[in-house]
């Protein structure tokens, strides 16, 4: 009896002790790579707002005038946000394009296209969409991937043009044309990725004629290869590969017309090789171009000035990682760019979103693969939405997840934005606020250091620049500090002392030389 009471009491006690307090939290912790390449925890930069599924989306039935659900998305492939904040979803499995307005009401579903009296439909598996919004026009370019064509139509589905396989040069004629993601510049030139095409971006004129392959990085020859090339004949040189075979996974255009591409197959050796590069070693770093920003000529102009290049995950096999433990590189599948050159890339491997600023500094990492709100299963597309919000399209769930910046995230983005707009003092203030929220944020130390520098606290500034590994500003602060200590002429004093020593040495040597001329060699060597 006593034993039973004891057991019951013990059980009750355990109930009290072991009862988990209920709390709501994000599906994972956010983290950040510090200057040592160590993943350190960070505040969540974005919080989950809502999930939009096709079932939730309503559209007015034109006949009855009632609101009806449009039915779930099926394997959606791409998501684009228009200038008026409407969301365009390529609902590939249902062969339709869904247009959702700012209030999350569906305004249009495009599934039939009218071309010279014919009615065209999309094949399932359409992968690309671009919304052309220039000069008051609003037109769609749809990659009808498995029908090997691009449909160029207006918002009512009236086809303006159909672009089929271009007369491309240097590619096997038998190779089929599978247009995937695409962007279109203001002049109507198309830049598209072709499935199975590994020579970069296919650039096509506004009339659909082939222009060139664009943006594939040239092969960098090693010393041995250079010698081999010098010895080989012209014909052999012609036949050798001129470009690194590159199959880009995604293409996006920023508000100024620069094209960003992402690549998901990285070279392991080169990936590790970049870790010990300094931020100014741009050519070494561009070898591992998980993200590229292309100039008009197709050159890579992305700034990789962060402590690590923008390659996503730095620790690629972490046994302490949150489950599921995924090994390997980040596999970037999409990229979205804000007006102030901050970009977010989507990693399909671990379901992460990586945000970098224009200089290539890492700002945020968040996201996870899980079956939970705010987590992904097979994310395929990401886009900025209404300013700094992020929306992510999940192919497997057929849903759109909306994230909005937390206080922390908004402060960091605000600091970057203020710097971009030239409001340096505001930016520095915000960076200091960021440091209050997250002392692991390496980039913030540069901002805080600049603030201290401006206030005349040079030693404090030096300490901050040291943490953020900013040698240029460290040197400036050191210069100012030395000026403060010994007046304006530190360099002159330093060099003067050196010069004095040198002059004395030369005088001594010349004296000895004169003695040598007078007396000759005293001792034979």
């Amino acid at each position: 009896m006593l034993k039973r009471i004891a057991v019951t009491a013990f059980a009750l006690l355990m109930c009290i002790i072991l009862a988990a307090p209920a709390f709501a939290a994000a599906p994972m912790q956010s983290y950040y790579y510090n200057a040592g390449g160590l993943a350190v925890s960070a505040p969540m930069p974005y919080s989950f707002v809502k999930e939009i599924t096709g079932e939730d989306l309503m559209m007015k039935n034109p006949e009855t005038g009632e609101m009806e659900s449009i039915g779930n998305f099926k394997n959606p492939g791409e998501l684009v946000v228009g200038k008026d904040n409407s969301i365009y979803v390529v609902d590939s499995g249902n062969a339709r394009i869904v247009v959702i307005n700012e209030d999350l009401v569906v305004t249009k579903i495009l599934s039939e296209f009218y071309y010279k009296g014919e009615t065209l439909t999309l094949n399932t598996g359409a992968q690309g969409l671009y919304v052309y919004e220039y000069d008051g026009k609003k037109e769609l370019y749809i990659s009808d991937t498995d029908n090997n064509r691009i449909i160029h139509c207006d918002m009512d589905g009236n086809v303006k043009n159909i672009y089929t396989k271009p007369d491309w040069i240097g590619v096997n004629d038998d190779q089929a044309f599978y247009p995937a993601r695409l962007v279109v510049d203001r002049a109507g030139r198309m830049y598209l990725l072709g499935r199975t095409v590994n020579r970069g971006v296919i650039k096509m004129g506004a009339d659909g004629s082939f222009d060139s392959f664009y943006g594939a990085p040239p092969v960098v020859y090693s010393f041995a290869e250079k010698i081999w090339r010098a010895l080989s004949t012209d014909a052999m040189r012609q036949a050798s590969i001129q470009y690194v075979p590159t199959e880009y996974s995604s293409i996006s255009m920023d508000s100024r017309g620069f094209i960003y591409v992402t690549q998901s197959d990285l070279n392991r050796k080169e990936f590790y090789g970049t870790f010990y590069t300094t931020p100014d070693a741009s050519s070494a770093r561009s070898q591992v171009a998980a993200v590229r920003k292309l100039s008009l000529a197709g050159a890579d102009i992305l700034v990789r000035g962060g402590i690590f290049p923008p390659v996503g995950e730095i620790t690629i096999l972490d046994i302490n990682a949150y489950s599921p433990i995924a090994a390997g590189f980040s596999l970037f599948t999409d990229i979205s760019i804000t007006d102030y050159d901050v970009y977010t890339v989507l990693d399909r491997n671990r379901g992460r979103l990586f945000t970098y600023d224009a200089e290539g500094n890492l700002l945020f990492i968040f996201g996870n693969v899980a079956s939970q709100d705010g987590a992904f299963m097979f994310p395929v597309a990401v886009s900025y939405y209404k300013g700094d919000q992020l929306i992510v399209l999940d192919q497997q769930y057929g849903s759109i997840q909306v994230f909005s910046p937390t206080d922390y995230g908004a402060t960091v983005l605000g600091a970057v934005k203020a710097y971009h707009d030239g409001e340096y003092e505001l930016s520095e203030e915000l960076w200091e606020k960021v440091l209050d929220l997250n002392s692991n944020m390496t980039v913030a130390y540069t901002g805080a250091g600049k603030s201290k520098f401006r206030a005349g606290d040079y030693t404090g500034a030096m300490a901050d620049f040291k943490v953020s590994q900013n040698t240029i500003y460290y040197s400036k602060a050191l210069s100012e500090y030395m000026k403060q200590l010994i007046g304006n002429s530190f360099s002159y004093i330093f060099l003067g002392a050196l010069a004095l020593a040198l002059v004395m040495w030369i005088l001594r040597m010349s004296k000895r030389f004169r003695a040598f001329l007078k007396d000759g060699v005293k001792k034979v060597m």
Binding site: Y276, T471, Y474, L478, S479, F494
Partner: protein, 220 residues
């Protein structure tokens, strides 16, 4: 000059005098190395102290060089034993390779002579290196060229002294010295290679014996 000579003369057989002889030697290498060997102006004890200073130099360089010239050092990961092993190891490797080759090539120096001469030849590295490490803390980027220059001066000076030392100790001509120096470097590489090979083979052998032991131990 006369003053220094007189001073050195008075102390010529003390350790202090032998150490101070460094300042004569680095400015008058041929004269200096000759005296080092034939007039016993240096000693193995003094040479060992100089090698000790070389280790101290390498430690100070790692630990106290200014952030701008040593940006990837975190301030704590210095391993004194590592610094000691690399510095002394390389130095001894040079001496042994030097001795092994010059014995075959009509060199007149003994291993002791080589050790003393080489240790004295490294003096400029220490004399410039230690103050420079501390000075680099107050040198902003505008003085980076000066830093690089002084560093190169130290290396070239020591290298030149090494050559001069080898030349005088073994009674070689200049051409022959340069040729020998190149061969010494190759010999050092060969020695390292053989060492690694040997180490690898031994470790594989040990690994094999251990695995055989476990195989038998676990079975019976």
């Amino acid at each position: 000059m006369a003053k220094i000579a007189a001073y050195s003369y008075a102390h010529r057989n003390t350790l202090k005098g032998q150490l101070l002889f460094v300042f004569h030697l680095i400015f008058h290498p041929f004269d200096g190395f000759w005296d080092l060997k034939h007039e016993h102006r240096g000693s193995r004890k003094a040479a060992t102290i100089l090698i000790g200073l070389l280790v101290v130099n390498s430690i100070i360089k790692t630990q106290f060089t200014g952030y701008l010239y040593n940006p990837y050092y975190d301030g704590i990961s210095l391993n004194i034993f590592n610094e000691f092993a690399t510095t002394v190891g390389t130095f001894l490797l040079w001496c042994i390779a030097n001795w092994s080759l010059t014995t075959l090539m009509d060199g007149e120096g003994s291993l002791g002579d080589i050790y003393v001469a080489s240790a004295y030849a490294m003096a400029p590295t220490v004399i410039i290196g230690i103050p420079l490490a501390f000075l680099s803390n107050i040198m902003p980027n505008e003085l980076a060229d000066v830093y690089m220059l002084l560093n190169s001066v130290a290396v070239i000076w020591s290298g030149g002294l090494m050559l001069a030392g080898t030349m005088v100790v073994h009674q070689y001509t200049m051409t022959r010295t340069v040729l020998t120096a190149i061969l010494i470097v190759v010999a050092m590489a060969v020695m390292v290679f053989l060492g690694l090979l040997f180490f690898n083979l031994i470790s594989q052998l040990v690994g094999f014996v251990i695995s055989v032991y476990w195989e038998i131990a676990l079975r019976y």
